[in-house]
Symmetry: C2
Subunit: 587 residues, 2 copies
Amino acid sequence: MLLLRHCRGLTRVGLLKTQRVQLLQGAALPVAVCAGSLCARWGSSHGGHKSGQYQRSHGPNWRHALAGLLAGTGAVLAYGLHHSQTEQAAATIVQPIAPASSLPIYTQDEVTKHRSVEEGVWVTYKGSVYDITEFVSMHPGGDKILLAAGGALEPFWALYAVHSQDHVLEILSEYKVGELSAEDRLMQQSVKSTDPYSTDPERHPALRINSLKPFNAEPPPEILSDNYITPSAIFFKRNHLPVPQVDPKSYRLQVEGVPGGVSLSLSLEELKTHFPKHTVTATLQCAGNRRSEMNKVKQVKGLNWGIAAISNATWSGARLKDVLLAAGYRSEVAQQTSHVQFEGLDSDVTGTTYGASIPLNKAVSEEGDVLLAYQMNGEDLPADHGYPVRVVVPGTVGARNVKWLGKIIVSEEESSSHWQQNDYKGFSPATDWDTVDFKSAPAIQELPIQSAITQPVEGAVVERSAEEVTVKGYAWSGGGREVVRVDVSLDGGRTWQVAQLQSSEKGQVPAPSPPPGRAWAWKLWELTAPLPPVVQELEIVCKAVDNSYNMQPDSVAPIWNLRGVLSNAWHRVKVTVKEDEEKQKLL
Amino acid sequence: MLLLRHCRGLTRVGLLKTQRVQLLQGAALPVAVCAGSLCARWGSSHGGHKSGQYQRSHGPNWRHALAGLLAGTGAVLAYGLHHSQTEQAAATIVQPIAPASSLPIYTQDEVTKHRSVEEGVWVTYKGSVYDITEFVSMHPGGDKILLAAGGALEPFWALYAVHSQDHVLEILSEYKVGELSAEDRLMQQSVKSTDPYSTDPERHPALRINSLKPFNAEPPPEILSDNYITPSAIFFKRNHLPVPQVDPKSYRLQVEGVPGGVSLSLSLEELKTHFPKHTVTATLQCAGNRRSEMNKVKQVKGLNWGIAAISNATWSGARLKDVLLAAGYRSEVAQQTSHVQFEGLDSDVTGTTYGASIPLNKAVSEEGDVLLAYQMNGEDLPADHGYPVRVVVPGTVGARNVKWLGKIIVSEEESSSHWQQNDYKGFSPATDWDTVDFKSAPAIQELPIQSAITQPVEGAVVERSAEEVTVKGYAWSGGGREVVRVDVSLDGGRTWQVAQLQSSEKGQVPAPSPPPGRAWAWKLWELTAPLPPVVQELEIVCKAVDNSYNMQPDSVAPIWNLRGVLSNAWHRVKVTVKEDEEKQKLL
């Protein structure tokens, strides 16, 4: 019945709700046609097996199967979408549109009050207000639609390009209930103040904010693994200071300290044109990713990151190695010096800038792939990700991938910055703030093997009638070590099954294995397994293995450390199995 | 009193036992002098702190302190001893010596029957037989003396050069009870047969044999960590086939397959003189080290290794990179080919030789330090370790460090050998012999982080009166990742303490940190901690961390695999705390 309503929307527009329902109750023929055309479309990207799944889905589980299919298709299409289109779409949010109907005018405040099925689910799109409460249960992408509740659809549709089809707009139009006030449409453009963070860029509303100033946020886990290449808008943001406003025309990158070499001052244009452009797909992860799990053992200092302070993007720019060669670096220099320091253009009120360093051998290695990146996912770096130039150090903790790069210094010493010397280091669980000696531990560079479950999320409900459960997640290891296996357990770690690994967008030809030591990008993974009988709760666990056969530690407490970094124990998610109502009545 | 007897041996020789005891009971003055001279000697290698410890040792715990001191001194001296001396000492075992006394003649069989304090502890040295039963409790090196019970002292004294002092021989001479029969002294030289293993070399009697043919053996853990550089005689042996007899004069190393290059056939002399000699200290570890712990979870296939299928040595030879350059290798070759295969001269009855391969980038990297080694610990390679030439691939599983090297082949393919294709790979605990697909897992190359406890051993007894416990072990990680911390727990992993790391022979200046990614050698570690009150059992646990902050998994079952490789969970040793007898009586 719900499928009928959704399909009906493809062919018929503008009916009042009562009319629509009445009509659809008797509409057998159009439904069959519609289901067939959906199958054909999905078949092109999912192949025979999924079509088979669809055939089975006419039973009581059809909605779950349909949601899985369409979410998958969305991911495929989103990758194909040129990013500039999505940016344009986002930009239209604040364009005032003259009301084209006699429907009521609503303020943003009124819209914002409608964020649940109980209170009603309202969204805005191009200045119009929609009450989509009834559509929520029909949404082929499932509950994710609630991420947009009370706000604008545009940023979400930019992520899921499956929506950029006429029939989707037609469905939406059926739910229109009013217009957004002109004031609200203009308001977002006018916020200005002396707050150093006032010039920070707009952010995607789906991001879960850990800190507003400086801005630190991660995407909801259930959308993180929808794309192999994370859209820039939802790529996790980890800023230490306000986002600096950099004029690309006057920007200069300083390069200093190469023994026997010269100092360079490169314009953006010179960086782009004097050095070969090199592109790398690399995952970045914050050292504090999954810190919240350590906080549950014992309070640590730091932002309470969930599992999504990790994302994957393509980066393009000049090789650091090539720039150092231009500054006179020769291999004999490695005898005299051993670090490359980076200084950002972001600074605090005293003028102290963000800084970090990496070992020289990583910086100059032919196989290190360290970039002075000016593009992310094929476009200029977004402001939050270091516009106009950032360092990308594949395989290395996010903190060394300095954004808004101002200066490169080749040195005998590591960076003297707080973040290199007195932060981002690992300690024993026995070390506390009274006893810690930051000099006793090395600065984190390469990160250890990591994985986490993105779907289902903690507390989710799985229907017994579904008969199987699909588990999804990501896995990555530092230092260019390739993930070779992910084991998944549904019973807390007693028994295990091997997940399918995915090293490109779903539906695309898998990327060939990277050269040894240069596996910079994560793998997404997925396992669909029969629901174990009897049990009322699943404790889903994942653990990954890299090609040095490093494995994740089993539990959090023994790796707990006072800064809550390097949290890479097995990830655990508990979900409830809901018995069929008929069965429950019988019991 | 026991100290008195030991010291007395320094100045007085040849007394009958009854006389000796009587004399010593009244010998106050010589004892004071003796203790002073021991202090002076130890002070030179141990500094003031240890002297202080000795002062305390006049209480009931003095014997433990003394044992620790002398064992430590032994390790220091053993390193300084030129290895050829130890070899010469070992060689004298089978030299017949004309009986020089009228004492009884014993056969080796009779000596062998005396291997415990209950049955008497007999040993041989240069053809004489000694009953050292009474000396066992006085031995400054502790129970390790029992490793030699029923056999020859020479191979053990070769390991612990503290014994090569006149006064030690003087002490020994007091316990002489007879001569070894001339037949037995000659017998060991005469074993010959058609057994392909009949020409295998002599081995050190301390080795614990896992398989005799082919020979696979490891040292007892409690002597493994006595030396930072493992003496070759007790370095773990892992042979897949009989040890080949290679004539160094006719030996040729074949080098083939470099695209656009030439084939080489190098004599041993050419390898030694045409290429720079390069020395690396590197730890080798068998993929099956600690397999016995997996066997306890569920039976696996493979040799039942304990924790000592790992050892550390210095290796000298030509760089593989230099030899490949001589064969015409150029960096562009890396585009066409990606593996370097090695073939051993050891073969089975069908002529199949041992073989393995490593990635080309490791082989040709300036920082890979891959050697064609012809020396181990400053001497020609011993027969068991690949004489005359073996590959040493630092940071990589033992199985790729091909011994008795005959051929090097640069190739597009990995080695087709059984050991590369269908062995030495890791799988999920869910994979069994019915479902395993060896193609689905990568050949093990770099190994993961590892550590284990060498002292105390499982089941040992710690005296409550000792008030503290000393825990020792090793830690190492593959891929040149440096061990940066070892955590030790005395309570099964609930609380942790940080151990002291040791990266050179004890008492020597610590070696400087290796360049990033080139930490090929293990670290020994030690922790002396107060005995926890009340408890009657300690569950000692260790876990190590490398500089990519990889950590060991907590437990064995979740990393169990059908071949029992990569066993690197926390190592656990249970010991009993023995209450003082007085206290026990009071209870």
